[in-house]
Symmetry: C2
Subunit: 192 residues, 2 copies
Amino acid sequence: MSGFVRRIPEGDHRERMVCADCGYVAYDNPKVVVGAVVIADEAVLLCRRAIEPRQGFWTLPAGYLELGETLEEGAARETWEEARARIELDGILGIFSISRIGQVHIMFRARFSADASPPRFAAGAESLEVGLFTWNEIPWNRIAFPSSCWALDAWRRSGSGPLGAPAGNPPEDARGTRPPKGSPMAPPMARE
Amino acid sequence: MSGFVRRIPEGDHRERMVCADCGYVAYDNPKVVVGAVVIADEAVLLCRRAIEPRQGFWTLPAGYLELGETLEEGAARETWEEARARIELDGILGIFSISRIGQVHIMFRARFSADASPPRFAAGAESLEVGLFTWNEIPWNRIAFPSSCWALDAWRRSGSGPLGAPAGNPPEDARGTRPPKGSPMAPPMARE
């Protein structure tokens, strides 16, 4: 990005990266992360990360929404890439602002596709292993990201019933400040 | 962006713009648009656009989420910039994929802040005029963007009651294809 300079484009009110040659403005805006809480027999699908950040920790299948995708397509693609699972989405469980790192996380509730043949999941390229966990089996002290805990909490509240208003950030973390690396996540039940 | 080339970075599976000098990858992902359906006495706040696209047409106050903001902060900032209104948000009415143009629209239900002194709104720099409209007064054939219609429809369904699951794209427009420029919007009630 050597040809870019930081300045406020005409009509704007924030500094942007602007190409000194052609005037192209490289707007840098928050990115959308889409993912799924895939439920089967009251257990949830988790992936152990093969890559940084948080390699070796567990996460819900999720990743960046790409251009041209709907939110639903992105969540299904990420679940396929990371957990080799074909899923059907039934609605949004939670929407979280992780403003410190410029991300918005949108997490769906999902189930395996009716026509998925066993085994219904496997580790994708970015996962070391993938498994189903009941609530009490979830490795709370090895969860990679707070938004996974928040989405799991929203799943527990909704159960298999109708989805209500989406969960947002917990009141004590409205801006999505991530705890120091390596610190165990508090299970959501500990916050009640 | 003269120093950039289009190629697939190592470990990726999509072409990205990569700086030929330094290897910087300029990821281009969908952007988040946040906005508000501001309600007062069963009327909704609309802005007539002073700028393209859709100059002269009416819209809900909304715009791009910026780095460092929460969704709520972004919706409140855009409402201030476009309608000079201070608001309080009470939840998400709808989340829409406009995948043709790489946008995700997240629309909140809101009211004027309790301490807002009259006049509670005015045209901001990007608006020609701003006004309150009851459902039957909404200028349906002069609405700028489909997502405004969808959010207004979600408002009508929720009324002032509790917010349920957020509305999504209508089934007939799951990918957010915008009608041809200049065509009148169908009021949501015409779709039922």
